[in-house]
Symmetry: C2
Subunit: 224 residues, 2 copies
């Protein structure tokens, strides 16, 4: 259960204040599939980074599974990120000197799984996104859409209950995009919570609920 | 005029050979708008990098405006890249420590334009893509779609006769995407050559001609 209350995120740039998030309140229930849409620059990734415990709000409350995130210790936060949340980043954030396989194994290293098991799970995750032939390529030896799919495999390998996907199909042709959405919707049907930022209306409509962000605020005129 | 004859690009990875381009022949006339489509990993960006003189083929000929590119000197190649071709990269390639404005001014520095004129042109290019309010933000202070639009502005500021656009709308909502395509189609109607890689069928159909790449080859069964 994800509960955001009056979340603000403000950046100071000299004299100017950028209100990236301007008072967002939102509840996401366990097992829900929510699409977040809105114009470029409206605050979607900023909101996702707060939900994923990678960024802190300037003000407001974030209650994750009953606990106020701002009061968690560094270790508890890291624990939440590693075991509770699988994050697909808009710009992938792959380690440039590691292969696709090594990048996908990374979340399992944090959990202390032995090498043989890690490799097995990572190979399976890369197979789910059609990258069986690219296991030992580094990011610079992969196409844009292949890098995106490595980022997706890495977010899924840990079997986390919550999946946060920031534009997961932006660099994929429609066939690869459909394959990825089949994987995500199948995981959702198994009970995972899916929060999905997308600019593609065909992807958004696969979610049971949609919210729109404009200028850092949720658009009203629809149940949020 | 862009003339590619039997272009191959092969990567050696230990024992394995990856045939990223497997014999591509293609002519693109001055003033044409060509869309390049095809699955993720099929070779589109690799082809674009060769057309943009950023990469060399393993074999085959590339004749640009009547001159064989492999016989050009380093200086002549740099000249071609800076004055003939505006390139919008799939992963933007922005300088991380420079602001949006400084990134867009960069092609004009190579041409020796004075600071005041450079700034004027760069501001105008950023205005064309709706970024007037973000001139002094660095890439990490911009959203994904805003970074993409800085990359677009930088490719257009030099008024080059050829525009190469690799997935220019992948991270943009439909409204911003339409604005960008309006800019590109207007430049094409003024006589520029436009080569556009896209996964979006709505974007592809704005071009007068389409080719499809599959496994490093042009699909036949249509005039290429
Ligand atoms: N570090 C920062 N400093 C100043 N402004 C910032 C910073 N990071 C983001 N912003 C601004 O906050 C706003 C929201 O950014 P965000 O990345 O959340 O947008 P978005 O909705 O994900 O956009 P897109 O669809 O283009 O990815 C943008 O206008 C951006 O310029
Ligand atoms: N340096 C490299 N070493 C080995 N293989 C490479 C290298 N660079 C690219 N490749 C491979 O070449 C193929 C073509 O890559 P390319 O980037 O041209 O694809 P693309 O059509 O642009 O894909 P996308 O739509 O995902 O961007 C891919 O299968 C990729 O894995
Ligand atoms: Mg974003
Ligand atoms: Mg590509």
């Amino acid at each position: 259960m994800i509960q955001l209350e009056n979340i603000r995120k403000t950046y100071k740039m000299g004299e100017i204040e950028v209100h990236a998030l301007d008072g967002i309140s939102l509840v996401i229930s366990q097992g829900e599939a929510l699409a977040i849409v809105g114009p470029s620059g409206s605050g979607k990734s900023t909101l996702m980074n707060i939900i994923g415990c990678l960024d802190t709000p300037t003000s407001g409350n974030y209650i994750l599974n009953g606990r106020e995130v701002s009061r968690l210790s560094k270790n508890e936060l890291a624990e939440a990120r590693n075991t509770q949340i699988g994050f697909i980043f808009q710009s992938y954030n792959l380690l440039p000197r590691q292969t696709a396989l090594e990048n996908v194994e990374l979340p399992l290293i944090y959990r202390g799984l032995p090498g043989k098991i890690r490799r097995e799970y990572a190979v399976a995750a890369l197979e789910m996104v059609g990258l069986t032939g690219r296991l030992h390529h580094r990011p610079t030896e992969l196409s844009g859409g292949q890098q995106q799919r490595v980022a997706i495999a890495r977010a899924l390998v840990g079997d986390s209950p919550v999946i946060l996907a920031d534009e997961p199909t932006g660099n994929l042709d429609s066939a690869s995009g459909r394959e990825v959405m089949n994987v995500l919707t199948k995981l959702h049907s198994q009970g995972k919570t899916l929060v999905l930022i997308t600019h593609d209306p065909n992807v958004a409509k696969l979610c049971e609920r949609q919210v729109r962000i404009i200028d850092g605020r949720l658009e009203t005129g629809g149940a949020n």
